[in-house]
Amino acid sequence: MKSVSRIFSHALDLTGWSISRRSVLTGALATALSGTLLGSAWAQDDRKTLRIVQSTALKVVDPIFQNAYPVRNHGYLVFDTLFGVDDKYRPQPQMVKDWSLSDDKLTYSFTLRPGLKFHDGTFVKSGDCVASIKRWGSRDTMGRILMDRVASMNVVDDSTFTIVLKEPYGMVLDSIAKPGTYVPFIMPKRLADTPADQQVTEVVGSGPFRFVAGEFQPGVRAVYEKFADYIPRSEPPVWTSGGKVARVDRIEWIGMPDSQTAANALMNGEVDFVEMPPLDMLDILEQTQGVVVKDVMHVGYNNAVYPNWLNPPFNNQKIRQALLLSLNQKDVLAAQVGNEKYYSECKAMFVCGSPYATDVGAPAGPDIEKAKQLLKEGGYKGEKVVILQASDIAMHGAVSPVVAQALRNIGMNVEVQPMDIQTLFTRRGNQAPIAENGWSIYNGYWQSVDILNPITNVGVSGRGKNGGWFGWAEDEQLVSLRQDFIKETDETKRKQIVEKIQKRAYDLVTYVPAGMFNVPYAYRDNVKGLLSGPGPVFWNVSKD
């Protein structure tokens, strides 16, 4: 804690205090307050309760309804999946005991493990699984593509059901094992029959933890208890596959809108685990006794900067290319992440280090002169560029000023409009011109698992206003290439299609990849057994 004292004394010097006076005060107060109050304050803390902080608090409890990482993580605690994936993104049976594929490659047959129970005491039946897949399939991008190819889903008996395809499709298991949002969680049929555009508010799953509805305060805390009737698989846990053994009795998920507060609480031992500690505090956290900072996930985040194709100037390809060339990933990452240990430049649109990673089509590096020239060629007339900035989330908001600076460097007229993230989510949906609250650029970041291929990476869909991602990049060629990819079952050919897509996307600048970063977990050193994977899951985790 030396560093803290030093910093603090620095801050105090500014206010005119002297250190010696402070220590006198400290001493006096310490004796007055010693122990008694604090001892009881944390008496409830014990080894059977895990207190965690995730990037945001839980408000919506239906993981098929809301597309957000924390809700997915909540889903993994409460619900189980038919398949999980291992650390090589390979689907592995989870609830499913056996499965088979017919020789015509059209009929998948699944048998559930015996004895699986929902938290309301009923047994998991195949009818529940079919209903759950249907609901998910009406919502998820990959789910919809799957459903387009499904002829029927049939309940054979209580523990067996089949999926019959119209044509062979290679990604059936990848789809239902999918770890990115939305995850096809299994819930009871009575709940799964709810339309997907309507929230399910009752939380009944068959996962290793039970949701304690009575203690749920939306935005404040969510409480889970070990589900005694859960039967874990016998394999060791890897990612979302293998045995999910609950090793704590209770998990309290505390909402903390301010990540700095979360870090402080961790250092003070008030919480055990912080999913996304503020990157700039990592040094301090590392130096704090009793706190471990470790990149357990091994799944990074990928920055994406989206230009709006509908509004000038970025309705012009040349000017979009100027944007691409003006931006230095390193600047973005330095401002956003700071510590080089946790970021790397990455030009691959489908995640560096993944099967489809490639540098095809990407420029060699930023080139200000060329960017200026392109701007001139594109006939830029000084139209105002409006950048939406999420000022309440540091990791989000930090990108915008760097983009603004880059565009100003090449002579563009830029205005950064700060807003809270929720407003940004709304504003980015506005297709109107700048004058009517429209926008030119916004940025976000995707977890790697969400953009591993051209199906899930919506930035290259090319569907424009017709179901395309915000920015509404439209290109026939991209749309048909994507279809080719879906139909193609040969891996080598798939890779070729991916290269074509990426080349095309870079040429058109559907969006600008702006680097990759990892966020390590920070946790108390008595927390053991955290698993790598797309997000924090808390089976296998114990407290010493």
Partner: protein, 313 residues
Amino acid sequence: MLRFLIKRLIATLPVVVGVAIVVFLILRLAPGDPAAVLAGGTATPETVAEIRQKLGLDAPLLTQFFTWAGLVLHGNLGTSIITHQPVWNLILQRAEPTLSLGATTFVVSIVFAVPLGVLAAWYHQTWVDRVVMIISVLGFSIPAFVVGYLLVYLFAIDLKWLPVQGFANISRGIGPFISYITLPTITLSLFYGALIARITRASILEVLGEDYIRTARAKGLRESTVMTRHALRVAAGPIISIVGIGLAMLISGALITESVFNLPGLGRLTVDAVMSRDYPVIQGLILVLSLVYILINVLVDIAYAVVDPRIRY
């Protein structure tokens, strides 16, 4: 008195209705969209549109307003768009931390600020007065979040005496309750206490010029008796009324303080609701807050009448 109170309450009805309508309109004019919030950050535009339709947010404003007003008239504040929980439950869940913070701040401020204000007036234009005034101006001048962070670093992180964040229900015991509420209370009291100390000083200085103070001195009373029994008693009226208005300001102050200390109170609920455009929650909150505000004012009137026999309603 009772008649006056009823009258006051009835007179405030139009205010509440007006506030409800204005808030409703402001919110609906805001570009935010709960559907987008609800769907999540990585949901596609199609999904958002589906949800918007489902929520009935496409309906004309007037229809939406009357639907809501109808519910309220039946004593139902509706359900949150985001969490699907009854608004009334949300408010009750979050009321305790805010009420606790309000109560402790109120008590701490008065216990410290009133005597300080009296001292400052008593030793008017001496160093005592100046010190009190400087402290109170500082209390006004430093933003609550700066004070909050300073306190957290000093008492929670560096010294580890008190928790960084959070709240313990009083049912968990007085010890935990106090340890969690102390820092937020100090933060808020610094501001609120500064206000009270200033008013106390000013009100007493005003009263000190009155003839009955001269009478009291002519009676040979001790200066301390003159200050408390005579000056403070009379000054109590104005002090109470400002303290009452100040209570309403506490709500604003609580907004910031609750964020800094992660107190799950009404302030945070309000900010969250505004940020996520959770219309029913915001509307319900404003309605409840205005009623509380009015109630506080009525209580202030009663208190004023209790301390000052000249006031008769």
